[in-house]
C-alpha cells in the first residue's frame, strides 16, 4: 500500500506540475498558421488553441470512459478526432445516434409489422 505522508503528497503535486508544464509546450512550427487552425476557423493564439483542444479531448475522453470504453483504447480514439468533431460531440454522447443493428424487437410489434408492409420502415429484412 502506498504511504500517504505529506512528503509523498508534495511529491505527487510536484510531478503533476512538471507534467502540466511539459504538456503545454508550443510546437516547433508556430511560425505558420496551421491547416488545423484554418479548418476550425479559429485563429487564436497557438497556446490558447492547444489548451482548448486539450480540454475538449479530455471531456470527450471522460464521457467515453463513462460509457464503458476501455481506458486502454480511449486515448487513440480521441486522438483521431478533429477539433471540429470534438466540438460537435462534446457533451452530446448520451443523445447521439449509436448505430447498433437490431436487438430484440418486442415493443409494438403489430404496428411495426404494418409499417413494414407499407414500406415505411425496414426492421424485418426478410419479410
Amino acid at each position: 500500500m502506498a504511504k500517504n505522508t505529506p512528503k509523498a503528497r508534495l511529491f505527487t503535486v510536484f510531478l503533476s506540475l512538471v507534467f502540466a508544464l511539459f504538456s503545454l509546450q508550443i510546437p516547433a512550427h508556430a511560425a505558420i498558421v496551421t491547416t488545423g487552425e484554418i479548418a476550425s476557423a479559429a485563429q487564436l493564439d497557438v497556446q490558447k488553441q492547444q489548451v482548448i483542444e486539450r480540454l475538449l479531448q479530455q471531456d470527450v475522453k471522460d464521457q467515453l470512459l463513462s460509457l464503458g470504453v476501455d481506458p486502454a483504447d480511449v486515448a487513440d480514439r480521441v486522438a483521431s478526432l478533429s477539433e471540429a468533431e470534438l466540438q460537435q460531440i462534446e457533451g452530446q454522447l448520451d443523445n447521439l445516434p449509436a448505430g447498433a443493428g437490431l436487438g430484440t424487437v418486442a415493443v409494438v410489434l403489430l404496428i411495426l409489422i404494418l409499417l413494414e408492409v407499407a414500406g415505411v420502415i425496414d426492421i424485418f429484412p426478410r419479410l
Binding site: 512550427h29 479548418a39 470504453v69 476501455d70 448505430g99 447498433a100 443493428g101 407499407a118 425496414d122 429484412p125
Partner: protein, 318 residues
C-alpha cells in the same frame, strides 16, 4: 349483420390510417421518384460493386462490421473484431458516426461524409466506391440505428443493394431505403485511398476531411492535396493546406509558391502573407520575408503579436 361487418372494415381502415399518421411521415419518396423519372446526366441506370467483402455482424456490432467492409474494399486488411476497440461504445451498444470517420483515419484512409442526397449516394456507387450509411430502421420515436454498406442500385427495378447485418447483397425497394435513410439525415461516408477523388462534391467537405486526416497523422497527404487542387485549383484553403504540407516537409520554395498563389487570389488574407513570410525566412530571403510579414501585420492587427515573430526572424537574417 352486414352493417356490422362494414363498420368493422371501416374501423380496420381507420386503425391503419391512425398508424400511418403515428409514423409521422408521408409515404411518398420524392428523391426515389425523381431519380427513376428523370435520371441525372452521367448516372447509369444500374450498377453493382460485386466484389465488396462481406462480414456478418455480431450482436449490436454493425459498426465494426460495416467499417471493416468499407476498409477492406479500399485495400485495408482489417477484421470487424479489430475495430471493436476503435468504434464500439458498450453503454450505448453501438457506434458513433464521428468515431467511424476517425477510425478510418487510424487505418490511413481519408474518410469523408458524402453530400446527403440519394443522387450523391448513387454517384459514389456508380464510381465503384461503396458508401457506409447510417439508417434508422425504426421510427423517429422508436429509433433502431443501423450501419450498412451500400454496394449497388437498379433504377429500373427501383431497388438498392446493401451488405447489411447478417445479409450479404440485401436488396430492398429504393423508396423504403429512402425512408430509413432520411431518418438519419441521410448520413453516409466513404473511406478513400489518399489521392483518390472519384466523385466531386464540395470543396469545403474535402478540405475538412483532409485537414482532419493530416491532423490525425495520415500519410500520403501530398497526393491528396494535389488531387483536391486539380478539381478546385483556386481554392484558398486547399492551397494553404498544400503549402503548409510542403512547409512541414521542409520544401520551402514549393511552399512559398503555393502561398504566393493564395495572396495573388486573396490579397486581403493575412495568414497567407504570414506563412509566406515563414517560408521565405527559411529560404533566407530577408527582403521578401520582411515585406510579407509587414503586410500580414497591417492586414490583421489583431494577430500582430503572432505575425511579428516572422518579422523578427526575417530582420535577424543576414
Amino acid at each position: 349483420m352486414r352493417s356490422a361487418l362494414l363498420l368493422r372494415r371501416f374501423s380496420c381502415a381507420g386503425f391503419l390510417a391512425a398508424i400511418l399518421l403515428l409514423a409521422g411521415c408521408a409515404l411518398n419518396a420524392p428523391q426515389t421518384a425523381q431519380l427513376i423519372d428523370t435520371t441525372p446526366d452521367g448516372l447509369p441506370r444500374r450498377h453493382l460493386i460485386a466484389q465488396v467483402p462481406f462480414h456478418a455482424q455480431d450482436a449490436f456490432q454493425c459498426g465494426p462490421a460495416a467499417l471493416a467492409m468499407a476498409l477492406n474494399h479500399s485495400g485495408v486488411a482489417v477484421a470487424p473484431d479489430d475495430l471493436v476497440s476503435r468504434v464500439y461504445v458498450p453503454a450505448r451498444q453501438g457506434s458513433f458516426q464521428v468515431e467511424m470517420l476517425a477510425a478510418s483515419r487510424a487505418y490511413q484512409r481519408l474518410s469523408m461524409p458524402i453530400r446527403p442526397t440519394l443522387e450523391a449516394l448513387l454517384r459514389w456507387i456508380a464510381a465503384d466506391q461503396p458508401v457506409l450509411v447510417l439508417q434508422n430502421l425504426g421510427l423517429s420515436w422508436y429509433p433502431r440505428w443501423h450501419y450498412a454498406v451500400v454496394i449497388g442500385y437498379d433504377l429500373d427495378a427501383g431497388k438498392i443493394t446493401l451488405h447489411s447485418g447478417e445479409t450479404a447483397f440485401y436488396t430492398l425497394p429504393l423508396r423504403t431505403f429512402e425512408h430509413t435513410w432520411a431518418r438519419s439525415q441521410q448520413w453516409g461516408m466513404v473511406a478513400l485511398i489518399p489521392g483518390d477523388l472519384p466523385v466531386v462534391e464540395s470543396e469545403e467537405s474535402y478540405f475538412q476531411a483532409l485537414a482532419a486526416f493530416e491532423g490525425a497523422g495520415g500519410r500520403g497527404v501530398g497526393k491528396a492535396w494535389r488531387a483536391g487542387l486539380q478539381h478546385w485549383p483556386e481554392s484558398r484553403n486547399l492551397l494553404m493546406g498544400y503549402g503548409n504540407h510542403l512547409y512541414g516537409s521542409k520544401q520551402y520554395a514549393a511552399a512559398a509558391q503555393q502561398y504566393r498563389r493564395v495572396v495573388a487570389l486573396n490579397p486581403e488574407y493575412a495568414p497567407a502573407f504570414n506563412n509566406l513570410a515563414a517560408a521565405l525566412v527559411e529560404r533566407g530571403d530577408r527582403a521578401g520575408a520582411i515585406a510579407a510579414a509587414t503586410r500580414a501585420i497591417a492586414l490583421d492587427p489583431g494577430n500582430a503579436a503572432r505575425y511579428r515573430e516572422n518579422l523578427v526572424a526575417a530582420q535577424a537574417l543576414p
